[in-house]
Amino acid sequence: MSDRVGIIGIGATQFRSITPDVSYKELMFEAAVKAYDDAGINPRKDVDTFVTCAEDYIEGTSIFDEYVPDQIGAALKPVHTIGGDGLHGIATALLQLKTGRFDIAVVEAHCKPSNMVNPDGIEACGQDPIYNRPLELNTHFIAGLEMNRFCYETGATFDQCAKVVIKNRKNALNNPIAGRATLLTLDDFKHTDSVSCPLTELDIAQPVDGAVVIVLANESKIRDLKKEPVWITGIGWCNGTATLESRDWVYLDYVTKAAEMAYKMAGISDPQKEICFAEIDDRYSYKELQHLMALKLGCGCNPGNYVDNGHFEIKGEFPVNPSGGALGMGYMYEATGLARLYCAVEQLRGNAGKNQIKNAKTALVQGWRGLPTTSTAVAILSA
């Protein structure tokens, strides 16, 4: 195994509900320029490998890989797509750097859901075409079932799930790139439409347009460039089953396995003590709690109780999604994990402004690919 890998540059656009003024290529270009500027590199000369994370159906273009290189400075260079969350792309870049054959890697992910006419229809195409699709399930309906099961088994209440949303969207108020920040109260949840009981509209992270680019390098290159990196000390990724019928709807084994892989690599034995804060997937309100539990950061078997005493607030004992998460910043499909990573790096660099956590040294970042998948990736970052 070769030397350590660190993050030396990050770039992101504003996350906005609509972006009629720019194309997805312009979003990618903006994030890339910012990231290269941050890293102090020239993509045409310095970058050895580029990874993009995208799915054709979301892009509305088959073989979307075709449209990646030009706007990120990657034409006629090693570029490939990973059909996965942005964090899967980070895992890929890390593997490539650790071979010792590459010095600098770039990971890109973006989305422009404001162009999507029928996002529910697209997401439903992710279901098994033989067993599930004939049932005409809406993806949020499956989430409603899961939320019900999760709350029933763990004792977490719907109000505690709502408090996750209130926390995240409030955190996002101080995040200058967030697209879905607002102040909510529990009362708002009582007056909002139910999507699939107990899941309400407010429990679902709403989509935004945007792009994120991350620059990674190996240790010797970082020394050459004289950069202060954020180290990736652990990485893990894992899949559970693709079938809805045979999976556990409460305990996410695949998330635990990915986390254990990352903890092992980072040499972490007691994650709750050794990690300062977490940026994790919160596509749905209950998912933040379910993921915390699987990541062994949930403070026992009912993380809901810890919501009530403010444990996961920015000023709490273990801040979760201080950036605002996907609920507060907006859901970005394959770019969601990279948005979490971007904000975790800002925290570890001490650039999180009013949301800054004191002495934040180690962070956990997790991404999940949304229903109906059981696909996750986990990274441990260290300042």
Binding site: D56, D65, Y67, P78, H80, L95, K98, G100, G126, T243
Partner: protein, 386 residues
Amino acid sequence: MGNRVAIVGAGMTKFVRRAQETGKELCYEAAKMALESCDMTLDQIDAVALGTAPDTFDGVHMKGEYLSDGAGAFGKPYMRSYVGGGTGVFSVAQGWYHIASGLIDTCLVICEEKMSSYRPHPQGAFMTIFDHTTERPLKPNLLWIFALEMNRYMNTYGLRKEDIALVAVKNKNNALDNPCAQIAKAVTVKDILNSEVLAWPVQRLDVSPVSDGAVALILTNETIARRVTNKPVWVEGVGWSLETSYWTNRDLCYPRYVEEAARMAYKMAGITDPRHQIHIAEPYDPFDYKELHHLEGLMLAGKGEAPQMTVDGITQRDGELPVCPSGGLLGVGNPIAAAGLMKLAELFWQLRGEAGKRQVARKVKRGVAQAWGDLMQVGTVVVVGV
């Protein structure tokens, strides 16, 4: 500089026009064969790397996730890589970096394609690969743009259609000895020149068919490879390169991206004189002219000189540089990603001397496989040796 990576097992389904099996079942079949070929079990696999081309073929969004359990990825680190038609060969590069990183010891590399789900014909799926603003309104079709490229290639070097057709003759005949082949046939140049014109100069027998199929390889680090087999095939070099999306702005007569990918792989493999250091090649041949184009990109032939190599019989199975002894895409079939990985499976069998009736005449110690894809835009290259 990274750990050595070996291929220790291979499995392949039949390539057919319309498989009765689902995509998951095709994956399962190929993976099981690959594991059994080296007496390994799924428990011994640390990670799974999947390659499969557009989701539109199957009509399944996030097709990689759908295929995951069929591909043996339950409870394992699993990722799907994607570079269009170049995916099959790239997936071995993906498996390589998993293991060369030192984080993973064994990796199942699997490629699957089920094009028959798309009706009436998967060409329709390719309508959406073009730029939505500048190209889609013109309603282009893959055969047309490849006809442009073939025309350009022929015009630049003054090539004859008869010479290019020799590639299809060779590959379709080679495929007669491949038990997995879909369209093996003893054909002559005359048959090809008399076949239906699709988009001049492309005729029906110049083109590979629509196929379903899956291929799997087992990759391991050196320690495990030596335990599992006494004939490991080493991954000596990998390379990939993606050209600009604006294909209308570049000269189509030469695949520069293939050359870039080849240079990357050759550098890693320590190859300075490819024509002499490489003994066998499996370049991507979805069209007969593409094998020639790619031989030039791989620097195994000078620019515009690959057709003459074919005329001279150098690329025959008993020639000096056997090319596509498997039968290639033109003879075995073209389930996109699986077709690319089939090329590495073939090299695996050839280098181990296990290719049966397809075994090439000369002794071969090093081979190169290459695939091509996106908008005539990406080259992926893997060099393997014993």
